[in-house]
Point group: C2
Chain length 471, copies 2
Amino acid sequence: MNAPMPAVVQRDTPQALLLALAERFEKQFSQAMAVREQHGRDESAFTHVPPPACVVFAQSTTDVRDAVRLAAEHHVPVIPFGVGSSLEGHLLAVQGGISIDVSRMNNVLEINAEDLTVTVQPGVTRMAVNAAVKDMGLFFPIDPGADASIGGMAATRASGTNAVRYGTMKENVLALEVVTADGGVARTGTRAKKSSAGYDLTRLMVGSEGTLGVITEVTLKLYPLPEAVSAAVCSFPSIEAAVQTTIQIIQMGVPIARCEFMDKKSVAMVNKHAQLTLREEAMLLMEFHGSPASVAEQAAVVQEIAGDMGGQAFEWATTPEERTKLWTARHNAYFAAIQSRPGCRAISTDTCVPISQLAHCLLDSVKEADASGIPYFLLGHVGDGNFHFGYLIDPDDSEERAKAEQLNEWLVARALRLGGTCTGEHGIGLHKIDFLKAEAGEAAVDMMRAIKQALDPHNIMNPGKIFSMPG
Amino acid sequence: MNAPMPAVVQRDTPQALLLALAERFEKQFSQAMAVREQHGRDESAFTHVPPPACVVFAQSTTDVRDAVRLAAEHHVPVIPFGVGSSLEGHLLAVQGGISIDVSRMNNVLEINAEDLTVTVQPGVTRMAVNAAVKDMGLFFPIDPGADASIGGMAATRASGTNAVRYGTMKENVLALEVVTADGGVARTGTRAKKSSAGYDLTRLMVGSEGTLGVITEVTLKLYPLPEAVSAAVCSFPSIEAAVQTTIQIIQMGVPIARCEFMDKKSVAMVNKHAQLTLREEAMLLMEFHGSPASVAEQAAVVQEIAGDMGGQAFEWATTPEERTKLWTARHNAYFAAIQSRPGCRAISTDTCVPISQLAHCLLDSVKEADASGIPYFLLGHVGDGNFHFGYLIDPDDSEERAKAEQLNEWLVARALRLGGTCTGEHGIGLHKIDFLKAEAGEAAVDMMRAIKQALDPHNIMNPGKIFSMPG
């Protein structure tokens, strides 16, 4: 079903374009091989794709617009680049072209504390947003593992550990500024909390993976820091017990803020990497937000459910330092896993299923992974029905790669049969193009292609991602 | 800025098409003038638009598909019809064509209580959804005033009194089935809680007002019925005091479920219509959902804030019967207002602004409305920054109509200056086409037109709504 390596169809980058970019951008322009290579890879397991022809370091919307206009004149691809933390090959120059690095567009433009909104440039990272608003008693909850850029998070419809309560980028982006394929600048949405004003271009751009435009400004929702926070870890005798506990928590309507699963192997990797002493068993990491009374009440309900399921050793992280240590360890789990096998790359799965199907889906896939002999970790935003196997492969071992891709295919096919999706939060990129066809069907993918053709007729915006275009 | 009456550009409906529809649909087809007229109007203040050429009563996706295919062959418009409760002229056949009435597609197809999802046909109303899931301890929160159809609510990105806590149709539609302009059937989304699988076609269809396809199936999120519910009304010495109370409630992060404002005039109209004895002053109607302890805590915080703002006569509606009476009265406020001036039509405003701008925006517009001498009511989903003036005009008095349109224009211009939107939940329809241009800008409207052109090249899906198409 899925091609393990991307089709590379390099388009020519004319010398005239490179000269024009060099003249316009001077020191913000680079053709140095090291710079190009750094911009031609990400955290995906794809290797051996040639880098982009050059890199433009944009510092403003005008910079992005001018780079896109020059590229458009020559029908040459542009690929937006934030911090390079994509897991699905979004940044790879499979059709050549220009990488537009927006990491220097890192200003927090406007904080409206009263309205619980903030407007940032796309290169601001999620942690930088939080640093900027913390003193106002506010926070921004969306937290993929990496300290990703807000532009990249919007482009991939990212989420993370808080999504079970606070939603994903889909729910938390209010407005965008976007440079379109013809070098125009469009604004979508407003700072109002809701709107029925025409097509939801904001939601169309969120998750479009750079294929419809370059995001140059993002207005986000913020939340008041909860009055009380408490976090806990709880070990379970089996994966199933942990998952069943989660299902009951959600079905009871407990407004849990985080409900994360780690399997035994992941806990061991995290212990080693972060020098922790967590019990090396299936585990839930949970967090509760609210008033002191509400947090105590949520915790009591959850503790009772967990107890009924054989959960043991409910341990509380009560101080901010303990909590930070715990969640940092969780966020670094991916990197802990990568380091557990030197030289490996992770093929990361990202299926998300209706929660009633979660235990079934997980357990069957664990059996297959165990039987394969490939080292792996298993993490899950299980409160959302979303989980990640990471198959730790030697990228040069084609047999291992094929085995891991096979496991992923089985898993995706299972998730789709159960009413789920092939990707909860990482995006399609290069890796899941065939899965998208299986999931959405030809009619829906044809609608996507028609939209792409309408908004980017020369197919210059991050081409080759999400779906292939004819011609 | 805004044309008060829609441009009517009737397209021809060929006899061959009418014959083909009559043959295919037999008793599900009508050309009777009374039926056509009933399908050619809605709750908007527009009158004098000729009705559609005929009505097809669809009973299945296949019916819708066949009607669209026949219409597409002849390049004749199709207009989906649910219960006819649009306030913005969505249902008016300004370019002629076929009304596809989906009210007989009223089956609840699948309830997945464990996953908190339900899949319905588009003619199921919001109250019918709730009746179907209540015994399972679940509810669907989105509640526009009318008992609207789920298809219509999705098409207009509707919300209502619960949106401050539970979001709008944007947040609560998981998946759709849609008949496209070429008579294809596309599925968008899955039952998984989140997904990053390609363009968010679900969100593109939600709020597209029938201009991109006919919605034939909707999968919605459900919520566990809260363990405890309490509702209260509180009177205030001024509009400003009520609004400031709301602002503080939101900024404190109180998870209030409903926070509705009624002005003195609206309370009087509601009292008369529903035979209630509410104090005829500016008023907040509030509801709290949660555990008993959490509800008590929220109520205590809110009562303290209200007290500081001069709020008086905090009255609790503790029994389900009292609450139902209160919210039914609120939902019927629009109809109560219409009945207060026999023969009138309401021109309803729908601006939504960042909450810090709410008091300012409201008060200036109240001054203008008072000065105009036109009878009006003022209601607001103020927790979201969204409010409705209803100017009660004699539809045949062009001077009154012009005055009311002028008030609306001033209000929209003010809301846009303050970072808001011309429509929080009613949609653009015929009435706000020029406002959309002012709000979104040419670049964004051009993107919308390009999408429309790509997905509906012959402009047959509810043409003339949201924006005008060239040619």
